[in-house]
Structure formats: structure tokens, C-alpha cells
Symmetry: C2
Subunit: 259 residues, 2 copies
């Protein structure tokens, strides 16, 4: 029916796997990709290990339309993402003149030592992705986009490169909040889902403004279907004696809700 454009995110970094750092990149990219009609289908968090990175890049770049990596492109010994992506593509690495120029403009007084020059080293055939925050660029090669791990830099890089992505139709979402438990609504909700197989209906218990309840989230490409399925869900809720409440924006599931 509609062409789905898919993406995979590789979060590369021991600091996420050790629990030292709370990831903030998954949610950002998930939302921004969805905005332009690209569906994030999988995320993998993997360590700073050459074999794992090379194998994973090669696996997922064959499987998804786009691959984004975050992390591991700084100047220190543990920053091995760039060379691993080069190896995955079987490309030699070279110091990109534009990357060197960017560092020189940004840090006129800094010595471009070997470590800093590592940040200018990209696989042959790569196109640079500008870093307006701290100059050292990311790059794109094939369908793989290599971005920084520090969220503010990653975001700036993504915003600068996203115009090259060709998205499909974006998923539209609608969320309806109820004070009922999931166990009350489950049967009827499953029936609505059966009638609308192309509408993705999720049920998420959580607390909101101190009140326990469930957010029913409907997502679909077709706005008319989304509207119709949403009205059926609302009618279901009313038939259970509750008034549905449309909700906007995100929330975080933090508290248990009665089943």
C-alpha cells in the first residue's frame, strides 16, 4: 500500500552498556525520523569493539534503508567507529581536506596533532556531515550516517543532513487516555485492532498528573483510517461507561497501572 522507508540506529559505546550514561539519542532520532516518514525499526547498543561494529554495520546496512551510528568518532583510542565503518565498506581511510580546514577555522590556536587529525579521517568516498557545534565532522557513506555520540552534536549533525533522506509517508499518531485498567478494555481493543490491521494500536499503562490510567496510541499512515479507528476506540470506551480523553505529546510510563 505505502512504501515503508526503514532505519536502524547503532548506539556505539561502552558507556551506555555499563550504565554510566543514560542514552538520549534513541528517542530524538526516533521522533525526528518519523517526522520525515522514516520508520526506526531497530536499535542496537553495541560496545566499542572492532569485530562487533564491523559485523553489525554490515548486517544492518543490508537490512534497512538507512543506518545511523552514534558515538566513537572523537580523537581518543576508544573512538573506532569511523575506521570500523570504513572496514565494513572495504574502503581505505584518508584525511579529508575539508575536515582539516574546518578544525583549523574552529580551533585556530590548536595544534592539529595526530589525535585531532584522527577526527578528520574518513573512508574513501565518504561525504562529510557538518558539525556546527565543535567542528569535527561526521560522515555518510552509502546508506550509513556516522554521527557523534554527544546528544547536542548528534542532533546538530542530523538536522544538517536530514534533507538527503528520502522518507515515505509519515506515521500519524493519536493518543486517547482512559482511567480504566487494560484488562477491562483489552477485548474490545483487540477487536478494533482486527478491523484495522494497518492501524498500529498500542496500550500503555502509566501515571499522568498523578492519576493511573492507560494511554491508547493509534498510529497509521492514512489519516482517514486513523480517524475511524480512533472513533471506534472512543465508542468502545464510552460503552464501558468512561469518557475518553484525547491526549497530546509524550509521557513517560513510570508507575504501574492496575491490570
Amino acid at each position: 500500500m505505502n512504501e515503508t522507508v526503514t532505519a536502524c540506529l547503532l548506539v556505539i559505546g561502552n558507556e551506555i552498556l555499563s550504565g554510566r550514561t543514560q542514552d538520549k539519542n534513541i528517542q530524538y532520532l526516533a521522533k525526528r525520523l518519523n517526522d520525515i516518514g522514516v520508520r526506526l525499526m531497530e536499535v542496537r547498543v553495541i560496545p566499542d569493539e572492532r569485530e562487533t561494529i564491523v559485523a553489525t554495520v554490515n548486517e544492518v546496512r543490508a537490512k534497512f534503508d538507512y543506518v545511523f551510528t552514534t558515538g566513537g568518532i572523537g580523537p581518543t583510542h576508544d573512538d573506532i567507529t569511523s575506521e570500523c565503518v570504513g572496514e565494513a565498506f572495504g574502503r581505505k581511510m584518508f584525511r579529508h581536506p575539508k575536515a582539516i580546514a574546518a578544525l583549523k577555522v574552529y580551533y585556530p590556536d590548536l595544534e592539529l596533532n595526530e589525535a585531532r587529525l584522527r577526527m578528520t579521517t574518513v573512508p574513501e568516498g565518504a561525504e562529510l556531515i557538518e558539525n556546527p557545534v565543535s567542528a569535527a565532522p561526521g560522515f555518510r557513506i552509502g546508506n550509513v550516517f556516522v554521527l557523534a555520540g554527544v546528544p547536542v552534536i548528534m542532533q546538530a549533525m542530523f538536522e544538517g543532513v536530514k534533507h538527503v533522506l528520502k522518507g515515505g509517508l509519515p506515521m500519524r499518531a493519536r493518543a486517547i487516555r482512559i482511567g480504566l485498567g487494560e484488562g477491562v478494555i483489552a477485548k474490545g481493543l483487540g477487536e478494533v485492532q482486527s478491523r484495522y490491521p494497518t492501524v498500529e494500536i498500542g496500550s500503555y499503562p502509566s501515571a499522568r498528573r498523578g492519576r493511573l490510567g492507560v494511554s491508547l496510541v493509534l498510529r497509521a499512515v492514512d489519516p482517514a483510517l486513523l480517524e475511524r479507528a480512533g472513533e471506534e476506540v472512543k465508542a468502545l470506551i464510552r460503552s464501558l461507561g468512561e469518557e475518553p480523553e484525547e491526549e497530546a505529546g509524550e509521557e513517560e510510563p513510570a508507575q504501574p497501572a492496575k491490570a
Copy 2:
């Protein structure tokens, strides 16, 4: 040298991949597993899709010592984790009498309708994992631990079941904070890393109390090696004219640091 016990976490849920929900389970499990000598080696976030879940469970349970799943064990139609794990193991599903009893105790006035009974349905051979928060249990089968997605419930389940995990030696960590850029320290740091191949040395630029800098994180199983490598890093920092600062606890990389 030391036996490394490994784990993989599967975060199952469209709400993470759509960006609606910020994951909070990765960091918690990463830390708690590390505390008991289990190393989280990989995380995958995958959608609520049968084929993907079944294939991924089978792939990672063969690859890692332990697998944890979060999400998808509620009563609604989109909660398919339990049956997918059953399918991955080739087991039939059954309603576990203890799970039914737990729900009856917890919700004496609730009707145990079909939807709620789904939450008592586990693969044959599974052992229940207690849910002290909202009764509906998780379960363990083989090396796969199926936990709830709501963080407070996931955490309670994990704390209740972690005694069955056999960890290796825990990684100890030490963090040293410097006000220098990564580009200044990179060369010397790489040399320390070469001398201590079994000490994992990471370099993480970030802001802390408003000050830009870099956290150098050393992780190792052997406390003596960790101590010696740490002292070499400190000596390196002093040789660059800076006073190293031991730091405790976590921080979040939020701001760019000069390269």
C-alpha cells in the same frame, strides 16, 4: 583470565521505536547486572512483531549467557512477548495456576476475563518471576528472563530473580575528571591503554557543574591493575600541567567539549 558472564537485553516495544517513550530500563539493568558480575554486551530495541521477536530471541539466547526481555507481557493484543518466547523455545503455552492465584489475591474483586488470563499464560517449563507491584508475573525459561516494561515493575521483578544469576567477577570502575580537551590527552591515554590491554579506558567529554571537561573512565576486573592504570593516567594528567580529580557517580554527557 577471568570468565566473563554476558547478557543481552531485548527492549520490546513500538513505543520506544516511535520515540513516544524514553527508555529507562537499559541503564538500570546495565548497572545492576554489572554489580553482580554480568556484563551487558548488547541491547536491541525491537518492535512488537512476532517474527522479529522470535528470531531475535533465538539468535541472542544462543550468543549470550543471559537474555532479558522487557515489555509486551500485559493483557492487550499488542502484548505478544510471552507467546513469542514460547514459540522461540518450541513450547506450548499454559495458564500457570500460581499466576492465576496471584492475580486472585491481588485483585479479589476483578473478573479474571480472557484478557487478564493472558497474563497468566507462560510457556511449558517456565518458572514464574514474581511481580510484587501488580501481581501479573514475568517468567524465566532457559536463559531467557521475561520482564515487564514498566520500569518500576521491571525493577521489582529483576531484584526478585537476580539471585539465580551466576555472575563472574564484577568490573570495577574508576573515573578521573580533567579540564583538558580530549585532543590534548589522547596520545598519552592511548599509550596507557596499550600498556593495560585488560583495562578498558574510555574518554567522555561532557559538562559537569557547568564546566566543560572530559571524564576518563577506567574499568577492570582486577583492582590492582585498575589502581596502577589509574595512577599512570593521573601522572599523565599532571605532566600536562593539570590536577586530576577523582569523580564518583554518574553524569550525563550533555554538552560538547572542545576537541
